[in-house]
């Protein structure tokens, strides 16, 4: 994070200015100037983060506008309970983070370490719950468009890899590592190391608390899933109905679209009656045959005359006029693409936040911060709140669509 750079310059203090406290970088005159610079720096960094996420929100907005019924249908696959719990967890971590900033300003070192550990634990619980959500969806083949393989008749793939185990693996290693660290420092009696390793062990283990919480809620929420599955199972009419509802807020387009879609359907049924289709059924690869027969019929009708190019076939084929099954890679798949991109990038930000928070925690044990020098805590806090803030929007946009 940008802001940290300010202060780490303190290690490089040159001897030319004797009135500089150790935490003040050589090129700053006062701690306040240093703090203000760092603060402006971190705000600018947050601006870049907002624009970074802005791109994905834009992609979301476009596809929600184009295919409201897909978003409607697919958000049924997201477990609102898990999302809501995660929102709560992140909000609580924001509280502890804000409290941590206060502690660093008031020089309550013990409490600061505690608050940072609480923030970290919440972050880990969040990831644990996410691990359950992700692995569950991967298992069902609810993946980005290119990998999407959900089959409504057999929602649970058999014999796939155990995704949950793979996600948990690095966290298991981290937990083992911290426990080892704690044990070794207990044996050696190194106070500083014990003070660091203790909270970090709690943090590492809280990931599994998150996994447990997720598993509990997911099993409780399986009923709603079954409903979603049934809904998706091919009740075409309800799908379309939902589509129309969503169209309503499209205002003037709604009626027009509806008319067109039913027309398109009628046309499809009509063509189904033609003998040509029977012909086609004999060789499914031979779709060219239909066109060929049609062309030949028309060719035999007249030898000369105007050869007007007919666009009506094409016109009936544009995106607003065709209403079809939404559980396909290019429809549901795109929803899950956006879901994974947004929540995935968000999760990466959580991971980055965890990394800097661990660094802060160790420094807080070292009692580096005081009321003249609390910048790093403040900057990381701002970053953490932004991550929370983005989730505040992600949660309703992805989970609460109806």
């Amino acid at each position: 994070m940008a802001g940290e750079e300010t202060n780490s310059g303190g290690d490089h203090d040159h001897d030319h200015d004797h009135d500089h406290p150790p935490f003040l970088a050589h090129h700053f005159d006062t701690p306040e100037q240093q703090f203000d610079s760092g603060k402006l720096g971190i705000w600018l960094f947050l601006v870049t983060e907002i624009l970074f996420f802005g791109g994905m929100f834009c992609a979301y907005a476009i596809f929600r506008m184009l295919r409201p019924e897909v978003f409607e249908g697919c958000s049924q696959f997201l477990n609102t309970k898990l999302g809501a719990i995660n929102t709560g967890v992140l909000l609580f971590s924001s509280l502890t983070m804000a409290w941590a900033v206060r502690c660093s300003q008031t020089e309550e070192h013990k409490k600061l370490t505690g608050m940072l550990a609480a923030t970290l634990s919440c972050a880990m619980i969040f990831l644990g719950v996410k691990a359950i959500e992700y692995s569950h969806k991967w298992h069902m083949g609810l993946l980005p468009a290119g990998l999407f393989s959900y089959d409504p008749n057999h929602p649970h793939h058999e014999g796939g890899p155990n995704y949950l185990l793979w996600i948990c693996m690095p966290f298991i290693l981290i937990a083992i590592g911290t426990i080892l660290w704690l044990v070794i420092s207990l044996i050696r009696g190194n106070k500083f190391h014990i003070a660091c390793a203790k909270p970090l062990t709690v943090v590492a283990l809280s990931f599994f608390a998150g996994v447990g919480l997720g598993t509990y809620l997911e099993s409780g929420g399986s009923e709603s899933h079954a409903v979603a599955g049934a809904h998706a199972d091919g009740d075409h009419a309800s799908g379309e109905h939902a589509g129309d509802d969503a169209h309503d807020h499209d205002g003037d387009h709604a009626d027009h679209d509806h008319a067109h879609s039913s027309a398109a359907q009628l046309a499809m049924e009509d063509s189904g009656d033609l003998d040509v289709l029977e012909h086609l059924a004999s060789d499914a690869t031979n779709t060219g045959l239909k066109d060929d027969v049609a062309a030949r019929v028309r060719q035999s009708e007249e030898a000369s005359g105007s050869f007007a190019y007919n666009t009506s076939d094409d016109a009936a084929n544009t995106i607003n006029d065709v209403e079809r099954e939404f559980l396909t890679p290019s429809r549901a798949g795109v929803f899950f693409s956006i879901y994974y991109c947004m929540t995935g990038v968000h999760a990466i930000h959580i991971l980055a936040g965890i990394a800097v928070l661990v660094w802060l925690l160790i420094r807080s044990v070292r009692q580096d911060f005081n009321r003249q020098y609390f910048g790093p805590v403040d900057y990381v806090g701002l970053y953490w709140h932004l991550v929370d803030l983005i989730w505040i929007y992600l949660f309703p946009l992805l989970y609460l669509i109806r």
């Binding site: 060719q299 030898a303 105007s306």
Partner: protein, 386 residues
């Protein structure tokens, strides 16, 4: 280095002939467009000549030895600055208005335009004249507003006819439309010239060479049509020709001529024509060299290894499936980039192409080995089949 300059300047001289600055004006857009271009260029010179003149004049006039003081140290003059900030804005508003008005004309397709479908692919064009007639050449009728409904089967292309001053990208996943009204009909070359070129083409055994003859195989002069959106390896060869007919009847006659295999054409010859016209040759060689797609040489009747590791027999069914649903069975070592020709090739077309591919293979059950004289092949194979 300076020795090259006179040469360069003489080249510069060559360019100041009448034709040099623009291509021919051959549509209703061209005149407006060139007029607007002229106006803008004039305005540019109006600004540029004083700026450049003063720039060099000041540089020489106020050149002073080191240490000399500037004659004036005036820091600003708000009135002058406001004037030169605001005055150009009026010119800009005018330019915007003229440009936008002309643009709206170009975007608004008149009712009842003659319609032609365009399919762009790597690296060629297929114009759809309706009734199952497809041809790479774009044929129009003079003074008839024509609308193109364009789609792409792979990447973004852009249809550009310099003589019409018309351009529009063709974006996969959507229909793009453009229209224009040609104002100049293509000339027809003399029969002798055409006969000479046809004879040469027949003897060389190659496809029609537009660049060499500068007219089409039906004897029309043409306008260039380029792809202007970078689309890969042979982007620069993704060109075709635009022929403007005098009358609708003339166009209809041409369409009839190219619409389907006539009773006197063998499937092999028709298949070869389709191979050239419909873009197959851009990716599939006949001599065994590896392009974007596998070569046809000795393909028919062989076992083909697929991406998935399976093996299939290269037979009629495989050809048909690969044309209609190319991504179903992709040969090993190739990317699934071939567009589907579903609905674009009639059954007879596919049959003809299959027959043509057979002639390229020594595995063919038909006992005519592929030689460098495909014409002979065709007649032989044609007789056995028909």
């Amino acid at each position: 280095m300076f020795a090259m300059l006179p040469g360069a300047f003489s080249l510069l001289g060559d360019q100041f002939k009448d034709y040099a600055w623009f291509p021919e004006q051959a549509s209703t857009f061209a005149e407006t467009n060139d007029w607007l271009y002229g106006v803008i260029t004039f305005i540019c010179f109006l600004f540029f000549i004083p700026i450049a003149g003063l720039l060099f004049y000041f540089a020489i006039r106020y050149r002073k030895p080191k240490g000399a003081k500037a004659e004036s140290q005036v820091a600003h003059n708000t009135k002058v600055e406001l004037i030169w900030s605001i005055a150009p804005s009026f010119v800009l508003i005018a330019l915007f208005y003229l440009g936008a008005r002309a643009y709206l004309d170009i975007r608004t397709v008149p009712e009842g335009s003659y319609e032609i479908g365009v399919q762009a692919f790597k690296w060629g064009w297929t114009m759809d004249y309706g009734r199952g007639t497809y041809n790479p050449e774009l044929h129009l009728v003079v003074n008839e507003p024509t609308k193109l409904t364009m789609k792409s089967s792979d990447v973004i292309h852009s249809l550009y006819i310099p003589a019409f001053r018309a351009k529009k990208d063709i974006v996969p996943g959507r229909y793009n439309y453009m229209w224009f009204q040609p104002t100049v009909a293509s000339e027809k070359v003399s029969e002798e010239e055409l006969a000479k070129a046809t004879q040469w083409t027949k003897e060389s055994g190659q496809g029609w060479n537009y660049e060499k003859w500068q007219f089409t195989e039906h004897g029309y002069r043409f306008f260039d049509l380029y792809c202007t959106e970078y689309c890969g390896t042979n982007h620069s060869e993704m060109q075709t020709v635009v022929v403007v007919h005098e009358t609708q009847e003339e166009l209809d006659a041409w369409i009839k001529e190219v619409s389907a295999r006539g009773s006197d054409v063998t499937p092999e010859a028709w298949g070869k024509l389709l191979y050239e016209r419909r873009g197959c040759q851009g990716c599939h060689s006949l001599d065994g060299s590896k392009l974007s797609g596998p070569s046809y040489k000795d393909a028919y009747g062989s076992k083909r290894k697929l991406q998935t590791g399976e093996e299939v027999l290269f037979d009629e069914n495989y050809v048909r499936e690969s044309i209609i649903n190319p991504k179903a069975k992709v040969a090993e070592g190739y990317a699934p980039v071939m567009p589907s020709f579903k609905g674009q090739l009639s059954d007879d077309d596919i049959y003809s192409i299959t027959e043509f591919i057979k002639t390229q293979s020594s595995n063919t059950p038909v006992a005519t080995p592929a030689t460098t004289q495909p014409a002979a092949d065709e007649s032989a194979a044609g007789e056995t089949k028909e």
